[in-house]
């Protein structure tokens, strides 16, 4: 499950929830009821704590906007609006759209998400400085997964 395992690697960087046979990886920066504790790795069969305690996020609004994690004030998190593959540049040869430290505006393209062969440009939708790129180039992202952190203050 190479590509899936790629998701796993990023567990440290985001609140991505990912389970693979025998292994569970989670970061509880987000105070979600489903996060049993800071950075849990379960070996062997997954334990019940997560699955049974984890009621579907009650706050999860019907309109489906992913709830924001608890963040330092002035930090805007850009999340994946769809499942897809994450690309930092228009093509393998060209430079990344943005680097850490770059100033971005509402219309600045941050990355491309490829879904069903379609390349979707993702805009910053805020003005500020890129402080973290949370996904590796070429890796898959889940819906709602955090991709960039931008300091707007």
């Amino acid at each position: 499950m190479d590509r899936l395992l790629a998701l796993l690697k990023k567990g440290e960087l985001t609140e991505l929830e990912y389970e693979h046979r025998g292994t569970k990886l989670r970061l509880s920066r987000q105070a979600a009821p489903s996060a049993p504790g800071p950075y849990m790795v379960h070996a062997g069969a997954p334990v019940a704590a997560a699955p049974v305690a984890a009621a579907p996020v009650p706050a999860s609004p019907a309109d489906g906007v992913p709830q924001a994690p608890v963040e330092d004030a002035g930090i805007f998190v850009v999340r994946a609006p769809m499942v897809g593959s994450f690309y930092r540049s228009a093509n393998p040869e060209s430079d990344p759209f943005v680097q850490v430290g770059d100033r971005v505006g509402d219309d600045t393209t941050l990355c491309i998400l490829e879904a069903m062969k379609v390349m979707n440009e993702i805009k910053a939708e805020c003005a500020g400085e890129v402080v973290e790129v949370m996904v590796e180039n070429g890796e898959p992202v889940e819906y709602g997964q955090a991709m960039f952190r931008i300091r707007t203050a």
Partner: protein, 449 residues
């Protein structure tokens, strides 16, 4: 056989497919919406992927998200479960175009079975008895009236693309016919983007009897006997059983043969269900073919010992059935009770919420298929079924006794949560049910009093 399968569904049926995959040694990847985040069954799959927000239109019904998840997960096949995209010909087509096996029939077969009047034509050609009525679509009220006089009132006006009772009207005279015709077309247009309707003679006080079929990709087709689903409310089944109290072996033979004939005529593949109306005189009429695994499939599994979901996957992988009609036998009597988070006292209004206490029924001859447990929150966004209780007795009386026992020990409690458990207990106390004397209107008549 497949190495990895994506499960494009949720809840009970997603768990059912996860179980089949584990037993077949296939990796399962289950998608979920934010409304199902943290549900226990997600952990039983080998991997899970969030594909969208709680609302189905943007998650479980969103083809691009699901295909994209399938590509990321690098699966060879997708199991659609029931509902959502299970009978969506377009989705099956997209899967094919992406070289992902759709675990179900080919897109064109889904399309032709999904259109009621086309399906009815197919049945006639296959020599399967159908309800007398219009040969296909009815264009205007004049034609409707002519046909109605021909076959005699009362008649039903039905949407060609319809299902679940929507776009359906009964007419007992020409006045109600004209009104019903327009209402049905409007409803059909709204619900299915297709105003086409057709007309059928109303079969009075029928039973709903359906035949389970399996068809592999090498031309082998068998039937696994019938399920009697006459206990329903607003076309929603509540109790299903096999065998049917109204069917004997000879009748099973004839209905089974008719179902197989239709499946062959339709070029059907994989697991499917041919629905019939059975009238008081013992005549049966083809209604439709459901091109999916059905909620009530476990009752057939109990009496035949054949695992239908495993068979779906084997067939999709190109394996031959490996057995013929003569190899299929029936043991005992199975009954399924749908446990819905609904309040029968309040018009079966859904009661989502957090389950705080739960004691699932267990012990001998009891099977419980449920994704729920104490601590699980029933999301408000999806259908209210939270479990299926299936009992398997040596005969019908035994099954009823086991059902009473299991329903008596079932506990599902939480703030505001009600279930259909108490209603099932009540139904098992009715002489009509115990004597097997019910029709599709029985439950509604009972609830009115």
């Amino acid at each position: 056989m497949f190495r990895r399968i994506l499960i494009a569904n949720r809840g009970e049926i997603a768990l059912r497919v996860i179980r089949a995959c584990r037993e077949l040694g296939i990796d399962s990847v289950v998608v979920y919406s934010e409304g199902d985040r943290g549900a226990p069954y997600l952990d039983f799959a080998d991997a899970s992927l969030c594909i969208g927000p709680a609302e189905s239109a943007r998650s479980y019904l969103d083809v691009p998200s699901i295909i994209s998840a399938a590509e990321i997960a690098d699966v060879e096949a997708i199991h659609p479960g029931y509902g959502f995209l299970a009978e969506n010909a377009h989705f099956a087509e997209v899967c094919a175009s992406c070289n992902i096996r759709f675990i179900g029939p080919p897109a064109d077969v889904i399309a032709s079975c999904g259109n009621k009047s086309r399906a009815k034509d197919l049945a006639r050609k296959a020599g399967v008895p159908t309800v007398p009525g219009s040969e296909g679509a009815v264009e205007d009220t004049d034609e409707a009236a002519r046909i109605a006089r021909e076959i005699g009132f009362p008649v039903m006006i039905k949407a060609s693309s319809g299902g679940g009772g929507r776009g359906m009207r009964m007419a007992s005279n020409e006045v109600s016919l004209v009104n019903g015709f327009h209402q049905a077309r409007a409803e059909a247009q709204a619900a299915f983007k297709d105003p086409t309707v057709y007309i059928e003679k109303l079969v009075e006080n029928p039973r709903h009897v359906e035949i389970q079929i399996l068809a592999d990709e090498h031309g082998n087709v068998v039937h696994l006997g019938e399920r009697d689903c006459s206990v329903q409310r607003r076309h929603q089944k509540l109790i299903e059983e096999s065998p049917s109290p109204a069917i004997d072996a000879e009748m099973r033979e004839r209905m089974g043969a008719a179902a197989v004939a239709f499946a062959r005529a339709a070029g059907y593949k994989n697991a499917g269900t041919v629905e019939f109306l059975l009238d008081q005189r013992g005549d049966f009429y083809f209604i439709e073919l459901n091109a999916r695994i059905q909620v009530e499939h476990p009752v057939t599994e109990m009496v035949t010992g054949i695992d239908l979901v495993r068979e779906q996957i084997r067939i999709a992988a190109g394996e031959p059935l490996g057995y013929g009609q003569e190899d299929i036998s029936f043991t005992g009597h199975a009954i399924e009770f749908r446990i819905n988070a609904e309040n029968p006292e309040r018009g079966f209004a859904p009661t989502p919420g957090r389950i705080e206490k739960m004691f699932p029924p267990g012990g001998p001859r009891v099977r419980f298929d449920s994704h729920a447990c104490a601590g699980y929150t029933i999301p408000r966004h999806y259908d209210s079924m939270i479990g299926k209780l299936i009992v398997h007795g040596v005969d019908r009386d035994d099954a009823i006794r086991i059902g009473r026992r299991a329903l008596a020990e079932m506990r599902i409690e939480g703030p505001g949560i009600h279930t259909t458990t108490a209603l099932h207990r009540h139904l098992l106390a009715q002489a009509d049910f115990v004597n097997g004397r019910v029709d599709t209107a029985w439950l509604e008549r009972l609830l009115e009093n």
